[in-house]
Symmetry: C4
Subunit: 213 residues, 4 copies
């Protein structure tokens, strides 16, 4: 299910098995929920202070194997020989650079996230009163309003990263690129998947509420 | 998929295997339906008059194993050493205390339940004319109106339990906490799952009907 | 997942294995689509001119085993000892009695069928212009309008059967009981499942169209 | 799950195993997404310049085995003995004839495609601003508008092919037959599935957006 003409012939032995398996598991889970259509989405884990394992460019994230995972450094440069990182690798590295406790980053494209991001006229989607808000770091009550900021999409990823840079450390939920999808992170892959599920649940609820108006 | 830093290293041998397996099965089923996003939801069974097996605090209910299940007493105090119950354990124990025939309690968060609970201005959601109403205890006809009461969410669980206490024994469908999710119970886990499915089906129908207005 | 307190202890050896397996497979398929919530739905096949294998009363149709299948005669009377048929068995038998080529009957409860049946003011739902209409017996073009008649729900199943009786042989798609669900049939279980899928696809499309109005 | 009364008794040995497996895998994937209800949809791969493996007429595409795959030539005539191709085989062959790099063709019926095709008054559905647009051949930015043309359904498949013929080579997304479903193609089965997923994602988003109006 992947384009491999120019890729490596065997898994990169420098990437620990747990890191590859965490990425493969996350890809299957995201696919089962419909959040990685076609070759969309990308998935990474940090396995050393400046060592990142990430899905390669192209390929379906629901059908990953170890060849679909490569190493990059904190600047997004390929460490695994003959493997090409996706342009959006920079957005993963930015999270690891600015947020020392981040251990996993997930980027997915759901229908709800895409539709809300293209129809919400404001600069953020506000969530208030949901019990699921307590799933996010440091939140102890549903009696709070948390914002998911909307960032305009840009094929110039360094420029897009520049827009996110000043606010990244203060985002409780992650961020949403218009017409594109969400970025979330957490200390481990399981907590990152839980964050993504919580956020997609909030987005699904919000989309349904807007149909009732 | 769970936070285990402070948890037990092996399953509690005092909990019968059937009780653990019933909880694990219920968690997978609820996850397959999308009713336990992130670490939401909790699941319990009674395996003795005052003995309750329940999911521990945190962790994803779709990926439970035996370590994710602990024993509590009817007041919600941990019996399994080194295991921390969720705050909402009290709502499970309340059901077992007030309803002697209750053998299993399920709490899930669906999109439909959450959205309806946050948009319904009344104190209950009324269901009338659905054949599926006959799935509930003592119901023999669809020609009836059954109410699912709405309770305001509260992080102070004893206070929330106090609101539910006077009416709990008279609720045909269970109850729904605003922005949060449903509580249902039945004599066994299979009948509790059937109740939950029936209730979520009713909620899904009701949400669709409100979009047609 | 079933209530078995009063049921038989072993599969009825008079029911051929293929008939039991066809019913079990159909139940899993219908459950995967969400069409048999709680203990809803029932499933039958004809394995002799006047011999019917059908799901027993109660129990979840997504978790059937051979004990969940019993034999009834064309009048709906139990042939398998100690097994209780569901009241709706009569509606299956009516199909086998009136339609000699019917070899399998399916009854499911979907959200779309339930919602449309409770909001459609007319006596039928009309489907026109859908390619999927060609999946039904004798249809060779999408340029046709086929009707799914709506029948009022009734806990008195013989009376409900009496309403259906005069028109049953002329129904191209099956029929829909208000607030309840659809009945479809075909010469074999695979063709009956295909009919049910085609009909539920039409109902899902129709429900979406009504939201766009 | 297929009508086999008149079909071959063993797989056609002239069709390579990889071609049969690609078709069987695609059918299961499309079924899991709900895109091949009943006997709808068809799936093909090119395994030689003028050799096409394609699903036979009838049968459920989610339960294919090797007997469900036959060979046809570029004019859609059966090469496998005793096997009957579907009428729509001609639409697959048209793609292979006009687009030399096409290696796989997929035709599915989704609810979103069907509903949009029957409610859109224009001659095409326009997609703009979606990141997923970059999944299509030669697209490098979301800042583009791509059109999915709508073709009227016709049981006369040669006539329908005649309508598509003049424009087929210039279609970036494939095409959509009203009330019927989409046709997409790509150099390989994995890329064709990715295209189909991308297109169905766009259609699902578009349908949701129209409910928000």
């Amino acid at each position: 299910m992947t384009e491999r003409a120019t890729g490596p012939a065997m898994p990169d032995p420098a990437i620990p098995v747990w890191a590859r398996e965490a990425i493969i598991h996350a890809g299957r889970r995201m696919d089962a929920r419909g959040w990685v259509p076609a070759t969309a989405g990308n998935i990474s884990v940090r396995f050393g202070e400046d060592r990142i394992a990430i899905t390669r460019s192209g390929g379906h994230k629901g059908f990953l194997d170890s060849l679909g995972v490569m190493e990059v450094d904190l600047d997004g440069r390929a460490v695994t020989p003959d493997a090409r990182p996706s342009a959006e690798t920079l957005l993963h590295c930015q999270v690891y650079r600015l947020i020392p406790e981040a251990g996993a980053v997930l980027h997915g494209h759901s229908v709800a996230a895409t539709v809300l991001s293209m129809t919400e006229p404001g600069a953020a989607i506000h969530f208030a009163g949901y019990e699921v808000l307590t799933a996010f770091e440091g939140q102890t009550t549903h009696e709070v309003t948390l914002d998911l900021p909307l960032v305009d999409n840009d094929q110039d990823i360094p420029r897009l990263a520049g827009v996110v840079e000043p606010v990244l450390q203060s985002l409780p939920l992650g961020y949403l690129i218009r017409g594109h999808g969400v970025y979330v992170w957490a200390p481990r892959m399981d907590t990152a998947l839980a964050r993504l599920e919580a956020l997609e649940f909030l987005l699904a609820c919000e989309l349904e509420r807007r149909k009732l108006r």
